[in-house]
């Protein structure tokens, strides 16, 4: 459909919490080194779909999937795949900044150390904080607690922490919803600079954010007569917000849904 390479592809993906089917039959190709936004009304399965991309749903008892999620040619849910390894390569940033109650330095160095990083940790911390557009603000206070930072800085530190283990994909679940407009714009600018090297998938309730910050947009909605969500339209963000094909997408992006 698009000229870009696909990095993650879902095939007939259904996601369940016990007997409840939360997401139905998603067929989606996430383009590599692009920003893909997932939008849709509350409770339509956006975060569930996002968490399936790095097997985070498994931490919830009873959750399972059928279908496949192909990442670089391999099904992430094959028996021989280690979910911890998946989460190294497909990192995640959450809605509320959740740095470890340790120093700024340790927040970045810790996961890399666990992961067996052999190079200079000082260099890694510096280069990673630079990538996360945080270095200039924290270079003189690296030993201070991460919790002393502002919310926006904490969130960029969480991005740095995800980057430190050198993932290929970064999943972001409403990364700016707890931030003020300035901190939000900083996160969005950061996403633009990161997409040169990383693939970003972001769930957002903020349609302006999806319109501003993403290259592609997947529109999710409950399927008729059920409480199960699916992707009803996937296209370039420019098209989704100026001339969507699906009437339901039109109604949602123009604020006439419901």
């Amino acid at each position: 459909m698009f000229e870009n390479d696909t990095i993650i592809e879902t095939r007939h993906l259904n996601i369940y919490y016990g007997d409840f089917k939360a997401v139905t039959d998603v067929e989606l190709k996430i383009p590599a080194k692009r920003i893909t936004a997932i939008i849709g009304p509350s409770g339509c399965g956006k975060s569930t779909l996002l968490r399936a991309f790095n097997r985070m749903n498994e931490l919830i008892p009873g959750s399972h999937i059928d279908g496949e999620i192909i990442f670089e040619g391999k099904n992430l849910y094959d028996r021989d795949v280690d979910p911890v390894e998946v989460r190294y390569r497909i990192g995640m940033v959450f809605q509320r900044p959740n740095p470890f109650p340790k120093s700024i330095y340790e927040n970045v160095a810790w996961a890399a150390r666990i992961h067996g990083y052999k190079g200079s940790l000082d260099e890694l911390v510096e280069s990673t904080l630079k990538k996360a557009a945080l270095w200039d603000e924290v270079k003189d206070i690296l030993k201070q607690s991460a919790l002393s930072l502002s919310g926006g800085q904490q969130q960029r530190l969480c991005v740095a922490r995800a980057l430190a283990i050198q993932p290929e994909v970064i999943l972001m679940d409403e990364p700016a919803s707890a931030l003020d407009p300035i901190a939000t714009l900083k996160i969005e600018e950061l996403m633009q600079s990161l997409k040169e090297n990383y693939t970003i998938v972001i769930v957002t309730h903020n349609m302006q954010q999806a319109a501003r910050a993403s290259d592609y947009t997947a529109m999710m909605m409950l399927t008729d007569g059920t409480r199960s969500g699916t992707v009803i339209e996937f296209d370039e963000t420019n098209k989704i917000f100026t001339r969507p094909r699906d009437k339901r997408t039109e109604d949602y992006v123009t604020g006439r849904f419901g």
């Binding site: 319109a211 917000f241 100026t242 992006v253 123009t254 604020g255």
Partner: protein, 220 residues
Amino acid sequence: MRATFEAELNFLKDELLLLGNLVEQQIIDSVDAFKKRDANASRAVIEKDLKVNTKRFAIEEQVLITIATQQPMAHDLRLLASILEIAGELERIGDYAKGIGTINIRMGEQELIVPLIKIPVMAEKCARMLREAINAFVNEDLDRAKLIPLEDDEVDKLYNEVYHTLLKLVVKDENSIERISWILWVAHNLERVADRVTNICERTIFTVTGELKEIRSSDQ
């Protein structure tokens, strides 16, 4: 849902209709004054053009406010972009009427050298096309928006008729060039009105379908 926003959109459509009516009347009045060689009536047209410009700016400002405060998307965004564009087209059409008024005043006491040939017919046709184009836009009538530009061909035909008739007169009497060119300019202005009506129809098609394309290329 979005009652405030809907009210703003409806208000803007009403304002565009009013501006359309105003400009339509300006075309009729300007040609009527020319036909009667009534300089005062032409001055009234020129004066009224200020009202056209003011209204166009007011619409433009309201569109920008609505975009800034309501963050329109998809169809709503196309509609607002089109209103902005059409308000501009209407203002230009108003300028053509004003131009006809200026011609009439510049002619001073000179009499019309020839009858106006098909010019009043052109004016009526242009005014009607304009009214229908604005109605088609406000009602998002795609079929009408596609049909109205076909009438532009008829206006072009009328213009050519006027042009060739006047050209023959020039050949007969070189001294009449100036007086003939006044009439030719009036016809030319009307021909341009029809082109701009076509632009308005393009915006209706864009608003409904999201497709931006030129209906025909006579608008140079």
